[in-house]
């Protein structure tokens, strides 16, 4: 064990890793603070820059962007009433009224402290639980894996917002797109139509960048309304008394975030709202919530950030992404020749421990970056979009090309951008499309392998207790999401 830890420490303790994580947190915080730029978009655009890096460094860079992005979303939520990320929409409720009262600095300080504590608790839970879950998952055969992936695909319902049917439709499109290339069993061509570039299937990064970055760019150009709100920092920072008064809500919110984050598809926004409503319910002065109550900011941010580490539990232990960003990180693992899941805990445990060490450091970085650079970051958030979006377009071109060194991928990215834009205009969510595209080959592979074992009998999918467990979980998950979807007046479970 000690040998393993020292090996992991050697893997982790390099200047490159420390720097990559810091750069990631800064980039994430800046991007998260810019309304219109999303965290998935930031992670997607950072991905090509990790090609030349060792796996641990690359993954840490992306994790830094992820964690920074979640916190960054709260900056503009508090300062200009515009959440940088959907998960920060709850922070607006009390953050902006505080800024209007001239207490922006206090709100930002509490948001940062709550974010860091929640992030730390979330990371600890990841370290404690991922290993156990992976050990359990070692017993899985192809049928169990198939049912697990079917269950994880119910996260599509979670990322579809109030467009459940369209979300499932988009997922079908993603599954179909994933079938392009050589057949997994017979090696024959599928939807290749003589195009050599399609024989190995569509590359993940151009599809990802096309779906997440291009539609936002095009939408900016054709949009008549251009936001010009300027950020202003005012007031004094949070006092020790503020922290003391909020600590209960922060801890409660952190655990809510951890529990909801570990369930695929729930995401930061519902966790933030649940934590907020719990803080309000248990408060001595519930009427002050929504009017600039500092505890409201703390609860929302704790719930939101408590999710970040926990979403990595199903990713690392089972190879199943908990949300869109972890789906992108799963793609990053694959690009670096790694496959998260129970086998990784057997074969690459030192690498996992190295990532855990980096994740713990990210909480510290988040605090330092938030504390020292809040003024500068809030200014960067004012960069004119007329300069920002054309630059992002060029980043997309370089990023798409760099994967396989082929201009064909740039074309794929543009095409996916057009499809993504069409989906945006038709209110078809793109996140289910991407998640299905990533999980598609795994789903099909295990589906067909199971049938090969059972000689074509579907009974194999109901042959073990684990299969039944996942079928029941899937049914509950779908029933719950349909109930949420149909219930009037309830905010949909929307992920980032």
């Amino acid at each position: 064990m000690l040998e393993l830890l020292s090996e992991a420490f050697t893997l982790f303790a390099t200047i490159e890793n420390a720097l990559a994580l810091l750069v990631g947190v800064v980039v994430g915080t800046v991007v998260g603070a810019i309304p219109g730029m999303t965290t998935p978009m930031a992670v997607a655009l950072t991905l090509p820059f990790t090609f030349a890096l060792p796996p641990v460094t690359g993954i840490l860079l992306l994790l830094g962007v992820y964690k920074g992005g979640i916190y960054g979303g709260s900056i503009t939520a508090i300062l200009i009433n515009t959440p940088g990320t959907p998960a920060a929409s709850c922070t607006v409720l009390d953050g902006y009224p505080l800024a209007q009262k001239g207490e922006a600095r206090r709100a930002l300080d509490i948001a940062l402290i709550a974010s860091c504590i929640a992030d730390f608790i979330s990371n600890i839970s990841l370290i404690l639980f991922a290993g156990y879950l992976a050990t359990f998952a070692l017993n899985f055969g192809s049928a169990e894996l198939f049912t697990l992936i079917v269950f994880s695909l119910t996260i599509i319902a979670g990322v579809s917002g109030n467009q459940l049917l369209k979300g499932f439709g988009a997922a079908c499109l993603g599954l179909l797109l994933a079938t392009v290339g050589l057949d997994l069993i017979y090696g024959t061509n599928r939807f290749v139509f003589g195009q050599v570039n399609l024989m190995s299937g569509l590359t993940f990064i151009p599809v990802l960048i096309g779906l997440f970055a291009m539609p936002e760019i095009i939408n900016y150009f054709i949009s008549k309304e251009k936001t010009t709100a300027k950020t202003t920092l005012a007031g004094k920072g949070a006092s020790l008394a503020d922290v003391k008064s909020c600590i209960k809500s922060i801890l409660r919110g952190s655990f809510i975030g951890v529990i909801l984050g570990a369930i695929p598809g729930i995401g930061g926004a519902p966790a933030a709202f649940m934590s907020y409503s719990e803080a309000r319910r248990t408060s001595k002065d519930p009427d002050s919530f929504g009017k600039g109550q500092i505890e409201g900011v703390a609860a929302a941010e704790a719930g939101n950030n408590g999710v970040a580490g926990a979403t990595m539990i199903p990713l690392l232990a089972l190879g199943i992404p908990g949300d869109v960003i972890t789906a992108i990180i799963l793609g990053a693992f694959m690009i670096h020749g790694l496959r998260p899941g129970p086998l990784m805990f057997q074969e690459n445990l030192s690498l996992i421990y190295a990532i855990f060490m980096g994740i713990m450091l990210s909480s510290v970085y988040l605090f330092i970056v938030g504390k020292l650079s809040i003024k500068a970051i809030s200014k960067i958030a004012d960069i004119p979009k007329s300069r920002l979006f054309p630059c992002v377009l060029i980043l997309c071109v370089f990023g798409s090309y760099a994967v396989n060194n082929t201009i064909f991928d740039v074309g794929v990215m543009f095409l996916m951008g057009a499809i993504g834009f069409g989906m945006l205009k038709l209110s078809i969510p793109v996140a289910p499309f991407l998640i299905a595209f990533i999980l598609g080959p795994l789903l099909e592979d295990n589906f067909r392998q199971s049938l090969l074992i059972s000689k074509g009998s579907y009974a194999i999918f109901f042959s073990s207790g684990i299969c039944w467990f996942f079928w029941i979980l899937t049914s509950f998950s779908i029933a719950f999401l349909i109930y949420q979807h149909q219930k009037p007046g309830t905010p949909p479970l929307v992920n980032q």
Binding site: L165, F168, L176, D183, N189, F191, Y220, S386, R387
Partner: protein, 166 residues
């Protein structure tokens, strides 16, 4: 354009149904190469995409039925048109030109020209900023990928010049 939720739903349903039908009856028969002998139907390379396409078709029909059913109007879903769709033409034109001439112009000159055009189209009027951004960003990205990440990026017609720079 695309003001009501119903129009968007109808269009989405049409897209799903058309795509599913095209995949089932055109793309699969012509685009999926079947092996001579398949052990079970479910193992055939076309089985899984066909299954997913049928699900897509069913979903398209469900959306169509739902959008045809009378439903009380939700004022929040009646969006005012705030988009300038005519701008799509120059955007597509610029992106098409960039893609088409990317190999010839290379990843420095091509993006410089595209960035110039896109900055102007985005409404940026500060000429100095336009020039600085257009030149420095593609050049920095080119140098990063070729020098730091060791990824060969084509310089196109500027290759001789860029090689001297490295």
């Amino acid at each position: 354009m695309l003001r009501s939720e119903r129009t968007r739903n109808l269009l989405s349903a049409a897209v799903f149904i058309l795509l599913a039908t095209a995949i089932i009856w055109i793309a699969i028969p012509y685009g999926v190469q079947e092996p001579k002998k398949v052990k079970f139907v479910a193992l055939s390379p076309s089985y899984y995409p066909r299954l997913v396409s049928y699900c897509l078709l069913a979903l398209g029909c469900l959306i169509l039925i739902r959008s045809l059913l009378p439903k009380p109007l939700n004022p929040t879903n009646q969006q005012e048109s705030t988009s300038r769709y005519q701008l799509l033409v120059p955007i597509v034109f610029i992106l098409f030109l960039l893609y088409w001439f990317l190999e010839y112009l290379g990843f420095v000159l091509g993006p410089i020209l595209a960035l110039l055009a896109m900055l102007l189209l985005a409404g940026e009027r500060n000429i100095v900023a336009i020039l600085i951004i257009s030149v420095t960003l593609p050049l920095c990205l080119y140098l990063f990928f070729t020098q730091v990440a060791n990824i060969p990026i084509p310089g196109g017609i500027l290759d001789p010049l860029l090689l001297k720079l490295q």
